[in-house]
Symmetry: D3
Subunit: 174 residues, 6 copies
């Protein structure tokens, strides 16, 4: 249980990719961390792309980046909804500014584009959004997981084992 005492935020909104929310969630719990699902509204149930429910714990407006050791942006089309809320981008930017874990998988890096935390940094994403990541200043590569200090990014659900192995490592060293 290497993450006891750590608190991690996972962002969610409609059309999230099922495993890119729930694998990190259960994995961090298994490792002893406290995990909060954060969304536009607290206590609301958001459907995944196939309708799998995820109930948010807190809303962007009621959380402080200082209280968290990291933030994870899942994929699916949820990021297109997540980044409609400026508070979500601000949260990511501040966690990044504090040098704490900022992680995004699949389409999740859309949130990192809007948080403007990719300029000059090594990263990856689902290949379909590569142009947006590059246009946001990211140095994009097609790898299972890319770790650039506190920034961890991956491409797709199959990368989840490598993605979480890297996230846990970054968190445990923080």
């Amino acid at each position: 249980m290497s993450l006891q005492g750590k608190k991690v935020a996972i962002f969610v909104d409609q059309q999230y990719q099922e495993m890119e929310v729930w694998y990190p969630y259960y994995r961090l719990v298994e490792e002893g961390a406290e995990v909060h699902v954060i969304a536009a509204e607290a206590g609301k149930t958001y459907p995944s792309k196939t309708g799998y429910p995820c109930k948010s714990d807190k809303s962007y407006d009621e959380v402080k980046p200082f209280d968290y050791d990291g933030v994870i942006a899942p994929g699916g089309f949820a990021p297109d909804f997540i980044r409609r809320h400026p508070a979500s981008s601000a949260f990511i930017a501040q966690v990044d500014a504090q040098g704490k874990l900022v992680a995004g998988i699949c389409h999740g890096p859309w949130c990192l584009c809007s948080a403007n935390v990719l300029r000059g940094r090594h990263c990856t994403s689902f290949f379909a959004i590569k142009d947006d990541v590059v246009n946001a200043g990211g140095v994009w590569e097609d790898s299972e997981v890319v770790v650039d200090k506190n920034l961890v990014t991956s491409r797709k659900p199959a990368d989840l084992p490598a993605f979480m192995r890297a996230c846990i490592e970054v968190l445990s060293k923080q």
Copy 2:
């Protein structure tokens, strides 16, 4: 019937926004134009976000930009699938290079980002992708329709009347 003799391409892929394909389609037909639905595969039926079917006429690989007077990129999440095919971006770039109608509505401008035709040009889109459009060099504004020479962009289905009025005007002056 101000568009007789004109030929226009409408791009489509799964999860297209119903009206942002079909209103331009029927409107251009009503105005006398020949309209081709173009997708990754010819003769394939693509479902909209709610499952409304749209059968493609041709594939990106079998069409030449010179044969067309304009191209329209609809919204919904279809653009995320459309721009996975480099041939779609190349088509848009060449139509633009020839000074012919390049139009995108809602999330459609994602295709214009990947075709790299927005640098320094006035445009709009659905507000959620504004950061990607700006990062791609677009001069973004929140207007019902923005016309910058051969580039016509709008934000959402409610803008379709203004969007098509502008598209028809650009096409008829070409």
Copy 3:
């Protein structure tokens, strides 16, 4: 904008055919008309056959035929629900009596059967309801659009360009 100052009603109910509501709606708006979606309940969202939403502006009970320049009955299975409300049939009959546009496409002419406005008039519909139209006195023909004075009818979504061209012509001459 040939229809500025005109006001047109489009009837809607569950299981409407997506394009047979929305193409007329946007087309009339593009032409400058004021368009009201009218249903059994005002302010209610009705799902199309695939679930595409359409929110009604007014209910049958709160509108007066004299205030409108025309009425359009879409297809899908919505007409089976629309004509369960006698007020909808009465509205159509009175608009017809005033010589103003009465239009129906696909299964829409079911509403015209129940409004009893087809006796001895040239018209068409989706072929599956031909017997009901003939039994209601209609002189049925298999054409893209049939115009008999203020009565405009068509068969299916593919006829929408011709259908709206005719509707706009009848409206602009009223």
Copy 4:
């Protein structure tokens, strides 16, 4: 088992009303009859309004009215598809001409309109299609079941017990 030796046809097509096919089916089997599900194609699985499957035994084209003691037209929107096949109307008309059971429930009487077997006869249906039934010559009344010699009609699923009680009686007296 009062119907041993009797053979009854039940028509089916997409969007049939679940109970208006399956209650008659099982009820007639329980009473000893041989029941054939007949549709446009043999061996094809047709979905009900909610997707409940029904596999056809035979197609309209391969059955002879003389081989059957009766025919039942269910409701839902299936009748709108059933009567697109002239052979279905011809089958009903001939079974009627032979004085054998012709039954329709809910929207089922649409099939009887197209088979032209309602002229001057007492009947009922789902109230939404009353105008079509009256226009087809039917003497319509709002009753749980209406029996006019070999013609049995009802309005909705809740009428199924009375509907089948009457159908079994007509069949057993044939």
Copy 5:
């Protein structure tokens, strides 16, 4: 109408098998019985496996076994939800103790396992739950219907005619 004066309970919960609720329901009504749909909540609409609605009349907590002449447990996955409510098992056990009709079809015998009414009794079920029935003491056989005094069981929807023939016989002899 051999069951006039009889009152029968049919249990229901989400994911019930459509015909294993509605065929018994309509059949018993046709035979003159009073039928109550009983579930965890009264007046609640429960969806079948495909979403076909069934509204409950009463809840387990407000009914007395003495008031009923029999109880039917349908299949689908509803029994997995039904037997989560101890009152449902208690109801079945008491009806059985009074020697009155206890019937289960398909997965319905799961409810009979939890009511502990199968020990040493001849019965059947859907083959997938045979191990649970045998482990609950049932003497399982693969027959269309098995009648052991007041206990009537069947395997699947196709057995419904035989199942209801047997249920009606047991009820009418009670």
Copy 6:
């Protein structure tokens, strides 16, 4: 990576509970194990309760228990389909006989009932199937995870962290 060199089978069939297949899958891969999804057919895509796809690697008929270090039976209604195949029960029974990991979560223990590996052993399950587990000889308790030598069982998705922690421990000690 404590499980390098280990090979684990996860059973799957339609209506599996999403996380009870995919969390164990990714978790074991993260820990270095080789994981095979095994079902009635190899190479077939099975939908979860909400339609999330899972493609099988191998079929029950082509795998040997000796080649595996453990087997996991997920919940949802998949177990009701899994245990329709005697080869699945035989596989579990043999893995158990070899003292290797046999794990079941939620409704998964239905498979263990049919494999007859619960007699006299401490275990848990989703509470709705407790009667079946007890009738199969299991000593049931309501705990997050129950470990009885090589047998690991849990109740529901929320138990997945504890469930996998225990599975990994049993596997790594084998």
